[in-house]
């Protein structure tokens, strides 16, 4: 055990058990499936991961704050519907490919706006974020059905649906956008005042107030960030499909929360980071991809992921209570 604690790599893995798991499943699938360790497939994993990955970045902020956002899947669907529909509005008919621009901007603004509403209600009413965003989840999904009339929208502009096929060198453009967002949010959380306050508010709200932090507006900003990221995720998903369906993003909130929790963020707030969250989304992405390649029926993935979620949290409780002085909830 002494060696275990001295080796910096192992010590790092002990604090971020999810990366150990990522490593194990990566090696496992590389050995057991000939198609897994191929450049084309690894690109695929990154693209598939980017959808829930983007939202998970925002969820990390919101959860470190001690809140949660269940409305992300619905927000994603609403943003995707706007992005696809607005570009075919008559007023942009003569804009050529530029018609995509107002559509995407509007979609992202819708996401920010929905997040702002969530945050504002949590701030002003003091109602638990779980309840507020549960309501928003139902309400926004309802809006999606009203807006789309239960139909799917199809993108008429091929430049839109071709976007996701672009790549920078070996990296698909969606992966690049995702990794860029990972870097930005990581910096935001670890290096800026806003990030520091995120930990303080979630760790001890009273101490944060006593330190002069304006807790309400602070939480609202984080809800706006996750709203933006959910909308961005929706836009990117609709470019992949060339369409927006009213059921887009169903259950995504559960995948996202699973990924973030796997990455070591505490539901009670105050603890977590983007490195862990990246590990969490990659773990889910690799597992789904690898099992798909091995032709394991999709529902087994749920069983296995559920078991892993509980196992990882159990290990985390075991190790981190003993090394960190026993303060865990």
């Amino acid at each position: 055990m002494a060696y275990f604690y001295q080796n910096p790599v192992l010590r790092w893995l002990l604090r971020n058990p999810i990366w150990g798991f990522v490593l194990i499943v990566f090696i496992f699938f590389s050995l057991s499936s000939e198609h897994f360790f191929a450049a084309r497939n690894l690109q695929n994993i990154l693209v598939q991961t980017s959808t829930i990955g983007l939202i998970a970045l925002g969820m990390t902020l919101v959860m470190i704050n001690g809140n949660i956002d269940l409305s992300v899947g619905a927000t994603l669907a609403l943003a995707a519907a706007f992005a696809v529909d607005v570009q075919s509005w008559a007023m942009f008919a003569t804009w050529g490919n530029w018609q995509i621009l107002p559509a995407v901007c509007l979609a992202l603004l819708v996401g920010i706006f929905m997040g702002a509403i969530n945050g504002f209600i949590v701030w002003k009413t003091g109602v638990d974020a779980f309840i507020v965003t549960l309501g928003a989840m139902l309400g926004i999904r309802g809006l999606v059905f009203v807006y789309t009339g239960e139909q799917s929208f199809y993108a008429m502009n091929f430049a839109y649906s071709d976007f996701s096929a672009l790549s920078f060198g070996p990296l698909p453009v969606l992966a690049v956008i995702f990794l860029l967002c990972v870097l930005i949010v990581h910096w935001l959380l670890s290096r800026t005042v806003h990030g520091r306050n995120t930990y303080a508010v979630g760790g001890n709200r009273e101490a944060a107030v006593n330190a002069g932090i304006r807790v309400g507006p602070h939480m609202m900003i984080n809800f706006m960030i996750i709203g933006f990221l959910a909308a961005l995720s929706g836009v990117l998903l609709s470019t992949q499909m060339g369409a927006a369906t009213p059921n887009l993003g169903r259950d995504y909130e559960l995948w996202v929360i699973t990924a973030v929790v796997l990455g070591g963020t505490k539901l009670t707030g105050g603890k977590g980071d983007i490195i862990g969250t990246l590990g969490g989304v990659l773990a889910i992405g690799i597992l789904r991809n690898g099992m798909n390649l091995m032709q394991v029926p999709a529902f087994y993935v749920y069983v296995i992921l559920g078991s892993i979620l509980i196992a990882v949290l159990f290990l985390d409780k075991r190790f981190n209570t003993s090394t960190d002085g026993g303060l865990r909830l």
Partner: protein
Amino acid sequence: MTASREPALRLQGIVKTFPGVRALDGVDFEVMPGEVHALLGENGAGKSTLMKVLAGMYQPDEGQIMIAGHPVQMTTPIEAKAQGVVLIHQELSLVPEMSAAENIYLGELPRKSFGRVDWATLEERANAILKRLKCSFRAEVTVANLSIANQQMVEIARALTVDARVVVFDEPTASLTDAEKVVLFDIINDLKARGVGIVYISHRMDEIFTLSDRITVLRDGAYRGTLTTAVTNEDEVTRLMIGRSLDLSRDEAAPNFGKTMLEVRNLTCPGLFENVSFTVRVGEVVGFYGLVGAGRTEIAEALFGLRKPDSGEIRVDGEAAEITSPRAAIALGISLVPENRKEQGLVLQMNCRDNMTLPQVQALTTGPFVAQGAELAIFDKYRDRLAIKTPSWKQSAAVLSGGNQQKIVIGKWLSMTPRVLIVDEPTRGIDVGSKSEIHQLLRELAAQGYAVIVISSEMPEVLRVSDRIIAMYHGRIMREFDIKDVTEDSLVQAISGISAEAVA
């Protein structure tokens, strides 16, 4: 009547040690049936430890507990209750969402077949007990809807479901109004008339002299004597309580006070504090002394923008100040080291450095990012200056000792170079060594030109650190002492409210 000559409860030579502390050192205590026996002592004198031994929460290392003449062993609170010893805690332990009846019989609800609750019996019995206590409410009422006094009645009613021989009241009036107190005293006298032995723990001299038959004083975990209330007086009790002559000598030059930094005029917050006026000068430590609930913390909260006063005026450095939030207070140079460092001061999961710089990360930001070098410089400076013992700045605040945690909080506010530093209970739950370091530090800060307010419930502490002492009782300033003129007797009297008329 022969039974009544045997004490209802007798403790003999009780010794209880914790690692490094001898909390109880051979304490004797007895209560006769139908007697109110007051237990008195300063904070930390051992009263609560003794009561926990009595309630079966602690096991004594030595000594004997006898109930009605028979030695007993009480290893759990349930056994103690079975022996007829009931504790009524300072903090109420009721389930607010349940009815009074359910609370009274919690854990012992009468049952019908298939484990169904027998509501009729439950409410009948509960109402009978409440009637005995002359309560004006019915047992069906939800506890959350009752006043604090009535909630206390429910707690007392719970004690009466067993055939209580001894009832212990631990600071029962801390949260009661005067009218509610009268009701409580009636009940205590009623219990007394029924032959129940009463142990009454309180700081308040006036209550003790109204209620008790005898007074036993503890000091530093040791028994200091038992007095008969009818033939003693406050002076004698006070002397027993304080006992030692405190070392108040300060090896420092006569303090040099500067201009008035903080001036408070007629600050009022109804029910909490009224017409509070005082000043604090540069280079001066003003001690606020009083019992818990005297309104001291609430004044600090008003000064820090956590509580909105109804009326009154606050001036900082001669200018009228509108303090509506901690943010505004911090901008004015007012800092508060709160009463409860773990709940109000620290983000426990956060590392030491981040905790220390929390209120000023904005000021330490250059470009988009926090300047970590500058943060570390601040941490290093105050770690050295306050002698904070931590292996590294990366250590989470949760694992530090109480003294070091408190130093982190003090360092946090010192690094902001405040104009007024308010410290609420600076050494609560801190070991003796760190305690004197913090006292020394507070003196040094004053010498360096800070205006300091220290709120404390410990007399040695206020005497040691203050230049002036403001004694509070029930939200009012009773008296202001210069450190040169203060006597312990007069201080105890001022905060107990016994000589209120004489002083006012």
